[in-house]
Amino acid sequence: MRLRENAARIRPVIVKEFRQIRRDKVSLAILLLIPAFLMFMIGYALNFDVKHVKLAFYDLDKTSASREFQRTFLNSEYFESAGPLGAYRDIDAMLGSGAARAVIVIPPDFAKDLLADKNVPLQVIIDGADSNTGTIALGYITSVIQTYSSKLTADFLDKNGMLPYQPVELRPNIWYNPELASPKFLVPGFIGFILMLSAVVSTALSVVREKEHGTMEQLTLSPLNTLEIIIGKTVPHLVNSLTSSVFVLLMARWLFGVPIRGEIIWLYSGIMLFLLAALGQGMLISVFANTQEVAFMMSVLSSILPTFLLSGLVFPIKSMPLALQVLSNVTPTKFFIIILRDVMLKGLGPWAFWRELVYLAAFAAVTLGFSAVKMARQRNAA
């Protein structure tokens, strides 16, 4: 009976909130489309794959063998030629100007020594200023040289009447993301980031707007209790954010080929709890902020910064100092990203990420509960 009374009072709040959202066409478009647009932008901009590394050769040998060696690099999409070098001092200019990321110096007797079955030392100089690209370029170069080397070893054994033999042979087998394409790893993070931002901002603004216009005071004087106000304001924004999450997921699939291997129901239980957590954060902000400007700033800062820096979206949490690892637990995005990667890439279910689900539920309960208590207190003593 009581529950029916509650529902009867909450209903007009929800209806009113939807009307307001629908009437404000610009905000509605922003709310629904900006997430998809951000997905598009960030997805293409933030790409950790290193391709087309500019590579220069200082060829002192100038034989057909040395030229063939060069071609083994340039035949792949990972390298492109930065042009030949005429003098040793040109290396400095080339790397300094950024015309080349790496330079390989082929020694004078490269072909002759190889034929004589001698060890040939090869100098590789890498621009380490951008350490990430440098590391990856070195990895590529190492693997090309190893392949080249083992082919020569095989030829050598063959020539001496022995079967080609390799003591330990590497046969990599990469799961979940066979091409090691960084979008598949990053996109779940973006989804978290984008949904977080839009959910927090829209909730916080809608409550603070009512404070500014004095309508919150009217609600306070009505028979609505605090929890009814919070539910009435949360439900419409939850529905909105769920809608925009569909757009974002479709975007992730069409543009970046990120699959959803797991069950949709687990994916959406994760999204649902995450959105509730984000709405809770927005609600909490709205309790403290009194103007829309302040609410907007607080929402943007509190959702962007921790999500980018601490959620494991860009920087791996395991390589952070302990204090930051502990601090990383403040952002629900961290746990949401784990759930998304598990469901979308690995096709896992809640047995793998029930802890994260529990955390998100707890985060939502704490923020919404605290907002309710704080709002009730403000109501009776302002």
Binding site: P12, V13, K16, S222, P223
Partner: protein, 321 residues
């Protein structure tokens, strides 16, 4: 659920509002200083004072929006601190912000407040008609509230605030920023509520409006300075005969009159000079003084005192004390 709550003194009191020693401190600042008053049922009760006098704070304490620092207040017999929920359904409150949803239509606003107050569908339709008629918004039900002029918004805000037909209505500066015709209409509406037994407590700093009230409390710096009906207040506080005169040089005229020991409360009232004289003194005294100083009088006449005169007088006494 409100029916089984009990009033503080059990029986229904003759007073809609009873206030005893009510105070509010904000930090070290005393906004309301031990205020006492009673409002009989069905009365239009005016709460007058300059800005910052403590009017809004008092009314907000009575609505349960602000917690009193000390003292008690009973609204419809319920204690505002102990039983704020019981009060909520019994009162209507409207502030000078006319808090409506500007991006909703007239009808949507009315339906929203009706729904929130738990009115049934049939009841909402009935009240919708009443509010639209009362506010003169026939044919404008689908207009966005934000596009309405101040007077319409004000009357719609009143309609939404009393959608649940409360017995007591609090109006905090309800006529601020509204044109004179709308102000007049609004007071007619308040008069209509009063005829139906609704108690109205209204704050204002327009002293001409206070003439519509049955009883008035004048408040300054959080303390009650005077109270009574408009007639009583005038009789009690304005003991002079008041004259209004039109002169060719008001600036000089004011200086001349202020220099006379017998001239009381000399003030400029629009283009008129106002001066108060003791009963025993005649208007000739004024004429003589002005003419001697070369100020020509175009017109002169006796006027009845207004609440403004009372207020200036009351505040003036305070200043001397």
């Amino acid at each position: 659920m409100g029916d089984n709550r009990s009033r503080v003194n059990g029986a229904r009191s003759d007073y809609a509002i009873e206030v005893r020693g009510l105070s509010k401190l904000f930090g070290g600042f005393t906004a309301v200083d031990s205020v006492n008053f009673n409002v009989p049922r069905g009365e239009v009760f005016g709460f007058l004072g300059p800005n910052g006098a403590g009017k809004s704070t008092t009314i907000r304490m009575l609505c349960g929006l602000v917690e009193p620092t000390s003292g008690t207040a009973l609204v419809d017999g319920f204690d505002v601190v102990a039983d704020p929920e019981a009060i909520r359904t019994r009162i209507g409150y409207m502030s000078q912000k006319f808090s409506l949803y500007e991006d909703l239509t007239v009808e949507e606003n009315i339906r929203f407040f009706g729904g929130v107050y738990g009115l049934s569908g049939a009841r909402v339709r009935e009240r919708l008609k009443w509010v639209v008629g009362m506010a003169g918004l026939d044919g404008k039900e689908t207009r966005l509230t934000g596009t309405l002029s101040g007077g319409w918004r004000q009357r719609l805000a009143l309609g939404c605030a009393i959608i649940h037909e409360p017995g007591i209505v609090f109006l905090d500066e309800p006529t601020a920023g509204v044109d004179p015709v709308s102000r007049r209409n609004f007071w007619d509406l308040i008069g209509g509520l009063s005829e139906n037994g609704v108690t109205t407590m209204v704050t204002t700093h327009y002293l001409d409006e206070a003439e519509y009230c049955n009883n008035i409390v004048m408040i300054n710096d959080g303390r009650i300075m005077a109270e009574g009906s408009p007639k009583e207040l005038k009789e009690r506080h304005v003991s002079y005969d008041l004259y209004e005169l039109l002169v060719d040089d008001p600036a000089k005229g004011i200086d001349v009159l202020r220099a006379q020991p017998w001239a009381k409360e000399v003030s400029l009232f629009g283009t008129y000079l106002r001066v108060g004289l003791e009963d025993s003194l005649g208007a000739e005294l004024v004429k003589g003084a002005l003419e001697k100083n070369g100020v020509a009088i175009t017109r002169m006449g006796r006027v009845s005192p207004s609440l403004e005169d009372v207020f200036i007088r009351v505040l003036g006494e305070e200043g001397v004390r």
